[in-house]
Amino acid sequence: MSRRTLRPPPLMVFLGSIGLAIFVVPFAGLLARVPWSDLLTLLADDFVTDALRLSLVTSLAATLIAVIVGIPLAWIMARLEFPGRSLVRGLVTLPLVLPPVVGGAALLFALGRRGLVGEPLNQATGLLLPFSTWGVVVANTFVAMPFLVITVEGALRNLDQRFEGAAASLGAGRWTVLRRVTLPMIGPSLVAGLVLTWARAFGEFGATITFAGNLQGRTQTMPLAVFVALESDRDTAVALSLVMVIVSLAVLVGLRERWWKAL
């Protein structure tokens, strides 16, 4: 075989390298600013640990809610015929396309103190979502759940339903079919969807600051903390950013090849 066929086309390599640089250079810039000697002290500060704790708790809570209501929604969208199905699909996809701040504003109009649902809810139960940690969870769920729903819906559509028929013929009730056949068979897609959902929730900023506010220990997640720290304490901002990059990178790299295919 001539060596010509083995060498990749130069134009591809050139353009591809530029593409890679777009991703690599900003992170290189970040790394260059890291105050390595003070890093551990900075990371031990309340400001950082509070933000990290909040980010982890709220992003995981949002992912859990997405699982509990998102999978059934995906199932309905994939399996049932009903009028307005495309509209529903459009609505579910909307948060993916909307600027997060718009999402936050919408949440405020719906669930704020004078909100469509928020006002009666507040007057009846005294419950108020803005400026609370649950508000952060709601904001995160709003922007991240579409990832799970769309991924799972796609996987369910592509699933050969005859397997579910076979399971039923063997005596499995609907819940058993779901638990032992349907969900395991869409496993890779489910995992990919979960990871994307969590990652999106973890990085959410606009909807959070607009809807839930910004208070250390209660609503100041890591992205908000970085935003605030950028103006007052550059070193802390860099340290926080580094933590976010490492956590996100670890999760995405840990998501192995076979699950990438499901994305």
Binding site: G165, A166, S169, L170, G171, T176, R180, V181, P184
Partner: protein
Amino acid sequence: MESALGRGLEAGFGLRRGDSFRIDLRLSIPAGTTVALLGPNGAGKSTAVSAIAGLLPIDSGSISLAGITLDEPAAGVLVPPEARRIGVVFQDFLLFPHMTVIDNVAFGLRSRGVSRAEAMDRARAWLERLDLTGFERRKPPQLSGGQAQRVALARALVIDPDLLLLDEPLAALDVTTRVGLRRALARHLDDFPGPRLVITHDPTEAFLLADEVHIVEDGAVTQSGSPDEIRLRPRTAYAADLAGSNLLFGEATRGQVVVGSHLIHLAERDVDGEVLLTIRPSAISVHRIEPEGSQRNTWQTSIAVMERLGERTRIGTGAPLPLTVELTSEATNDLDLEVGKTVWLAIKATEIGVEAGSVETRSE
């Protein structure tokens, strides 16, 4: 004390799919009998399977099994598939790819609440019965076609069903494996005490596996009867062309096959071992006196049965080799044929279909 009929399948139903397609079937399968639904693709056989298995509701009529009504729209009865005690072997087997062989087989039991230990034991026993010991931990993608079919069979049988339903059980296999497994399948069917329903488009399969064959064309049964009856009196062109062949088992040595007390010469010298010969009734010629020529397959026999079917006549011959022969009614008149008369038969070696009917292999 239940009659054998009471423990079988009683079905008479109609089902409409979409705008144009409709099936109407009547089936009665007593325990211990195998019925085949034979027909071309698109005739409605798979729809019938889905209806009986409970995956599709019927529009009219009823289906009952072992005396229990499964589906009767008029009475508002519809038993869901998971509550019907039917063991189904699907055309593509549909083994759950993410589960091991033993988990697949145990699935039905576990779904019905059987404890894990007991389910595993019973699954293991069935795998052993089907020569699959050692395959427990394998995953379906790692199995050969024949192995997968047997796992699917074990999975259906382990739940102790009231009806065994096989949808094109051999269609997914390559030709050699299919022939090899057909005998084994016949044996497993015979071992099953309840009623058995086999869906197939392969006439040989239907005739070899079933006690009674229902020919389905365009959503309706065009003929029902034992294989011999159909062969003798085919009612439609499909039945005549495809379902009416003579099937003979014999032992071949260098192209010469011993069938009973008779010797048949094949066109191929290179055939040895157990074979299944198929001879179309219209491929056999009838003569009043011994035919001249190079044909080596000629013998004298007598007419045992004669059936006039319009322009065609089918004759059943007697010893030494009972065969069904088809002639035009005109030829029948010209030859002045009658029951009891002696005739000479001739078959060209090239008209004889040969299948190497191997002894069922123990390992694949």
